[in-house]
Every structure is written in structure tokens, then in C-alpha cells.
């Protein structure tokens, strides 16, 4: 099992190194965006997964990193001496400084109040960004350019790709090392039982403030890489969507697994890239994926992988078996059912469709989807949609891949004899 893991890592590393030679410009840009989202999610998850602190305002530190870096790029362009490859440290420093202040405030309270303070601070930063046009560039934002440094030229996308890759690896190594360090142990202790940590002689508040700042620094570093890649910064970065996306990436990928946020970031970024061309409703699907993960598989994709590896190691099951085929089929069935429902409903509610109905003397044209025609008045359309979704979901729940959320698990109370479920 371990050798498989190393082969996978080697394959992934090889793929990332040769990507610019085999992929086109678009794929490089996508990979850059994936890595930036992954760094951001890892930074966020240091706070959430490791310290157990839910921040719903991390876009602030990401955006601050981006703007700080744009200013630094401008300074380099005007003759500053900072090497371009070290620009991400500017974003990290800005994130750290703001994170220290924000963390000091937020850690006054715990739990939901902590989360509310993070939201409030992010809104505050966002509001300031709107008001201070001279600093944040207003609606048009700020622009700058990448400068070369010594023998290194940073004008091509490929050079930015490699710069981002190097920083992504450095950040991952740093966070992985931090997690295993004695300080990381204290942080995990705080997640488990903060009260206990205090009574063991640790100043929990200071530890939490520092973790918050480091998390914000990593987020700022991700923002800096965005600035380097896009050569621009816009106040849109500070809006709630950024804070929401990083939560979504982390949850879908699995907050309790180190690489979980990376998986989530890769999936949602790619989904946004391809899905946006395929459907108007791609954001909706992402939302459904998020809700489904929270309700039925709270450990996320990473958690599912880790659990599978554990089971295989313990000899409880084969790496792959027939049930996986069934699960995959059920998952596809449920997704197809969902797509039919969403696309048909979405299309017939759209303005262009109303116009088509009006021009066709009240005849409702069929909705074209996946090479098939779906008549909105045919019961078959709705049976296929609802049926596919329900049947697929039912099989997934039956198979145990998805789990009913605890508040819906009445059966468990009725049958106290274990059903093999560990939690």
C-alpha cells in the first residue's frame, strides 16, 4: 500500500513538472489557479482542521496578500530591490500582520461567536476596500507588471507556473511539518479540548492568535501568487464569495485529512473552469455537492480515501470490488437525475425560454440536454429526473458510502445492536 502511495506521489510530481511541455496555455493557467486555491485552502484548514477554529472571513487575508503584492510589484518595477520570486513573502507578511490583529480580536470569543467576528472583520475590510478607491483602485482595481530578476524571466505563463509550483510545494512542506511539530500538537490539543490545554499550563489564547496569523499568512501568500499570475488586484477579492469558496473546498476535500483541501480545491476549480462553459447552473451543482457532503459524507473525499486505505490495510476489504462499481453507477445515476431536474427546470424558467414559448404560440419546446430531448410536459422527463436522483441516492445510502446525518438516523435508536458503523 505504501509503495502505491509513493508511485502516486511520483506520478503526480512528474505530471506537474512536465505539464507545461504537454499542456496548452489554458491548462497551465488552470493548474496555476488550482495550486493557488489549494494553498489558500491549506492555510484555511490550518485554522479549521488543526485548531478547530471556523473562520468565515478568510477572503480578507487572501485579498490583502494580493493587494500588498501588487504594491510590491509596482515598487520593483520602479527600481525596488526585492527579487520577484520572493514576492509571495510580501503577501504572507501582510496576511500575517493583519491575521495577528484579527486573530487577537476573534479569539476573544469561541465557537460561533468566533466565526461571527471573522465574518464581521472580513466585511469591514471589504467595506473599506470599496471606500478607499485611491488605495484599492475602486471598481477597475489595480494593475502592475512582473519584473524579471537576474537570469530569471517571468514574462511567460510557464515561468509563473513553475514559480507557483515551487511555492505550493514549499507551503505544503511547511504546513505538514508544522502539523507534526510540538507546537502543532498543542494546536491539535486546543481543537480537542481547549480547557484541558489551559490547565496544562499553555496560554491557549496566544496559541490561537498565532495560529490564526499563520493561517492568514498562508492565505496572503496564495493571494500574492494570484497577483503575480494575474498582474492585477480587484476589491471583488474581498467579497464573501472568496470566504465561502475556501470553506467549500475544504469541506468537499475533507478537513481532517492534510491533503483534503488540496483535493477539494482541485475539483472545484476544475469544475468551475469546465462546468461554467457547460451549464449556467454550475454554481448550483457546487452548492449541492457541498450540502450533500456536509449531510451524507462529512469526512469529505479525503476522509473517504483515508478510511478506504485503512480498511484495505486492516484486510477488511479489497482495494476495489463490485460494490465500488455499484456505488459509481449509483452516483452517476443520481447526478444524471439531478442534472435533468436542474437543467429542465432552470431552462423553462429562463427568460429566453419564455420568449421561445411566446414566439411558438404557446407550444413549450423540448429541452436539449446530453444529446436527448426532454419534453417539459412529459411525465417521463420528471420520472427520469426524480427517479434517477432518488434511486441513486437510495443505493448510496444502502451501500453505506453515504451516511444519513445523525439527526435523521432514527433506525439507530430502534436497533441499538451495532450495524457495523464506527461512528
Amino acid at each position: 500500500m505504501k509503495s502505491i502511495f509513493y508511485i502516486l506521489i511520483a506520478a503526480l510530481a512528474g505530471f506537474l513538472i512536465v505539464l507545461p511541455y504537454v499542456g496548452d496555455l489554458a491548462s497551465q493557467n488552470l493548474a496555476i489557479k488550482v495550486m493557488i486555491a489549494a494553498i489558500f485552502a491549506l492555510g484555511f484548514n490550518l485554522l479549521w482542521g488543526q485548531a478547530g477554529l471556523p473562520s468565515f472571513g478568510h477572503a480578507a487575508y487572501y485579498g490583502i496578500g494580493t493587494f500588498a503584492t501588487i504594491y510590491a510589484m509596482e515598487a520593483i518595477d520602479k527600481g525596488g530591490f526585492l527579487p520577484t520570486p520572493l514576492l509571495p513573502l510580501v503577501g504572507a507578511a501582510a496576511g500575517f500582520a493583519f491575521g495577528l490583529i484579527a486573530g487577537w480580536f476573534a479569539t476573544i470569543r469561541t465557537g460561533v461567536y468566533f466565526a461571527m467576528i471573522t465574518v464581521a472583520l472580513a466585511e469591514l475590510v471589504s467595506a473599506i476596500a470599496v471606500k478607499w478607491e485611491s488605495v484599492f483602485g475602486g471598481e477597475s482595481g489595480l494593475r502592475s507588471i512582473r519584473s524579471d530578476w537576474g537570469p530569471f524571466a517571468f514574462q511567460t505563463t510557464t515561468s509563473v507556473y513553475y514559480l507557483t509550483l515551487v511555492w505550493a510545494i514549499l507551503v505544503m512542506l511547511f504546513l505538514y511539518w508544522l502539523q507534526g511539530s510540538p507546537f502543532g500538537l498543542i494546536v491539535r490539543g486546543i481543537r480537542e479540548r481547549e480547557l484541558r490545554v489551559k490547565f496544562l499550563g499553555y496560554d491557549a489564547r496566544k496559541v490561537k492568535t498565532l495560529v490564526f496569523a499563520v493561517s492568514a499568512a498562508v492565505s496572503g501568500l496564495a493571494g500574492a501568487l494570484l497577483a503575480i499570475s494575474d498582474e492585477s488586484a480587484n476589491m471583488v477579492l474581498f467579497q464573501g464569495a472568496g470566504s465561502a469558496f475556501v470553506v467549500l473546498n475544504t469541506v468537499i476535500g475533507g478537513a481532517n485529512v492534510f491533503f483534503g483541501p488540496v483535493i477539494g480545491a482541485a475539483l472545484t476549480t476544475c469544475f468551475g473552469y469546465f462546468g461554467a462553459n457547460l451549464s449556467h447552473f454550475w454554481m448550483f451543482y457546487l452548492g449541492v455537492a457541498f450540502v450533500a457532503t456536509v449531510l451524507f459524507a462529512p469526512e469529505g473525499i479525503g476522509g473517504a480515501i483515508v478510511e478506504r486505505v485503512r480498511q484495505v490495510r486492516a484486510g477488511e476489504r479489497a482495494p476495489l470490488d463490485l460494490s465500488d462499481v455499484v456505488n459509481l453507477a449509483a452516483l452517476i445515476l443520481a447526478i444524471v437525475g439531478l442534472i435533468i431536474l436542474v437543467e429542465v427546470t432552470g431552462t423553462i424558467c429562463s427568460e429566453s425560454y419564455r420568449a421561445a414559448v411566446a414566439s411558438g404560440q404557446g407550444v413549450w419546446p423540448a429541452v436539449r440536454l446530453m444529446g436527448l430531448s426532454f419534453n417539459p410536459f412529459s411525465p417521463l422527463t420528471w420520472i427520469a429526473g426524480v427517479g434517477g436522483l432518488l434511486l441513486g441516492t437510495w443505493v448510496l445510502l444502502k451501500q453505506g458510502l453515504a451516511k444519513w446525518p445523525s439527526f435523521l438516523r432514527r433506525a439507530e435508536l430502534a436497533h441499538p445492536v451495532g450495524t457495523g458503523e464506527t461512528k
Binding site: S181, P182, L195, K198, F199, L200, G201, A204
Partner: protein, 250 residues
């Protein structure tokens, strides 16, 4: 005065208009094993929380080894030499048993912000951690997650953590709560061994444990100390019997 570890002088605590504790005076000598008993709601847990820093006393002074600790935050009190356990088990469920103990030992060696695990001090920390595990018969469990242990083992981990901080005053909040008779006897021996050479204050409901372990006993009733004395004196006292019988008869 040097042989007094913990001293409480007219300590009182009110929550709003409710006076939970009034004028508690108590001196606990170095090396003493002291038990706090009393009916439910007498204020035993509140007193524990005041001493360990969970709450600040409304009035009065608490001194540990001669320095005032009343009103300090918990981590400062811990560093002054006090360790406590909780009535409801407070171990780190998802950390391994060894990590649980190590967390408590690290702080004693001043490693509260360390990012590296190098140098001779970490050898000492590792050795001390393993010694505590060995002493508690937990070596075989060292790499299991604390949350996966049996209840009585979790209680043992909790006591190990309390002792592991190097505290010389140990507060144990109902260490035998929820245990069977055999487990309880096991725990009594265990507590006696782990707190060897330290001062112990414990809240306990089980009279067998109290009379078995304690040098002196204080009876707390309605926020006041009814009496303090040796187990034999307590057993013989009519007022104590009345307080308990009154509680028992409802």
C-alpha cells in the same frame, strides 16, 4: 508557614445574588492527602474551580506555596504548581495516549512554543513521558487514540496528565466516578503511587475511597466548611452524619 502548600483565607464566591461559597478557610500541609466531601450542591466543584482558576473568587485570598493565585488565569496557576483533573473525563480523544502525556510534560520543560523536536531537552521529555506511561501500565496503549481506550484507562490518562505537568499540588475531581469496585481499588493504589511526595486535594463521593486515601477530610455543606478532621473524627461526628442523613432522607 513553609509547610503549607495551599491556603484559603475567607474565600467566598457568588454567582449573581446566589452565594455558593461563604468564608472558606482551609490550610493544606505539604504532602497531605485531603478529601473534600459533602452533599450535592454544597459547592465542592465551585471551590475546585476557584482554586484552579476557572473562576475568580468574589472575595478572599488563595495562596499556593506562599504566592497568591486567587483570580489568576488557569495556565498561570498551573505554572505556579497546580494540576487538576475533571469530573467528566478531559483527555484529547483524537491524540494518541503518548501525545496526551507528552502535551502535559512538554510544558513542564518550558517547551510551550517549540517548533522543533531536537536537542537534549526533547530526549528528557520523551524519557519522562515514557516513564509516566510505564508507571501507569499504559505503555502497551501508547500509540492508541485516547478516545478508543476503556473508561477507566482514560481516567488513568487524565491523572497522568495532571501529574505530568510537574505540579506539586494535585486536584482530582471525583477520580473514581463511574467505576466498578475492582476498578476503584485499582485507582486508589494508582493515585497513591502517582501522587507520592505531592500534595493531593480531591472531591470524592465514595466514602471507602475517602477513608482509604485521605489523611484529612473537610466536609462542605451549604457553602461552608462544617468541619475538618481525620477520617476517624469525621466518621464519629454527629453533625456530619446528620448532614448526610438529611441528604439521604430527602
Amino acid at each position: 508557614m513553609t509547610d503549607v502548600t495551599l491556603s484559603l483565607a475567607s474565600v467566598a464566591k457568588s454567582f449573581g445574588i446566589v452565594r455558593v461559597l461563604e468564608a472558606i478557610d482551609l490550610e493544606i500541609a505539604r504532602g497531605e492527602r485531603h478529601a473534600l466531601i459533602g452533599p450535592n450542591g454544597a459547592g465542592k466543584s465551585t471551590l475546585f474551580n476557584l482554586i484552579s482558576g476557572a473562576f475568580a473568587p468574589t472575595s478572599g485570598t488563595i495562596t499556593l506555596n506562599g504566592s497568591t493565585i486567587g483570580g489568576l488565569v488557569p495556565h498561570k496557576i498551573n505554572r505556579a504548581g497546580l494540576g487538576r483533573s475533571f469530573q467528566i473525563t478531559h483527555v484529547f480523544d483524537k491524540l494518541t495516549v503518548r501525545e496526551n502525556i507528552m502535551l502535559s510534560v512538554m510544558g513542564r520543560f518550558g517547551k510551550r512554543w517549540s517548533l522543533l523536536r531536537r536537542g537534549p531537552v526533547w530526549t528528557d521529555i520523551g524519557r519522562e513521558t515514557d516513564a509516566i506511561l510505564e508507571g501507569a501500565n499504559l505503555t502497551a496503549r501508547a500509540h492508541k487514540r485516547a478516545g478508543d481506550l476503556a473508561y477507566s484507562e482514560q481516567r488513568a490518562v487524565e491523572i497522568c496528565m495532571t501529574v505530568g505537568t510537574g505540579a506539586d499540588l494535585i486536584l482530582l475531581d471525583e477520580p473514581t466516578a463511574g467505576m466498578s469496585r475492582e476498578e476503584t481499588e485499582h485507582v486508589i493504589t494508582f493515585i497513591r503511587r502517582m501522587t507520592e511526595g505531592r500534595t493531593l486535594v480531591m472531591v470524592e463521593h465514595d466514602m471507602d475511597v475517602v477513608f482509604n486515601l485521605a489523611d484529612r477530610v473537610s466536609v462542605l455543606v451549604n457553602g461552608r466548611i462544617l468541619m475538618t478532621g481525620t477520617p476517624a473524627e469525621i466518621r464519629a461526628d454527629a453533625r456530619v452524619r446528620e448532614a448526610y442523613l438529611g441528604e439521604g432522607a430527602h
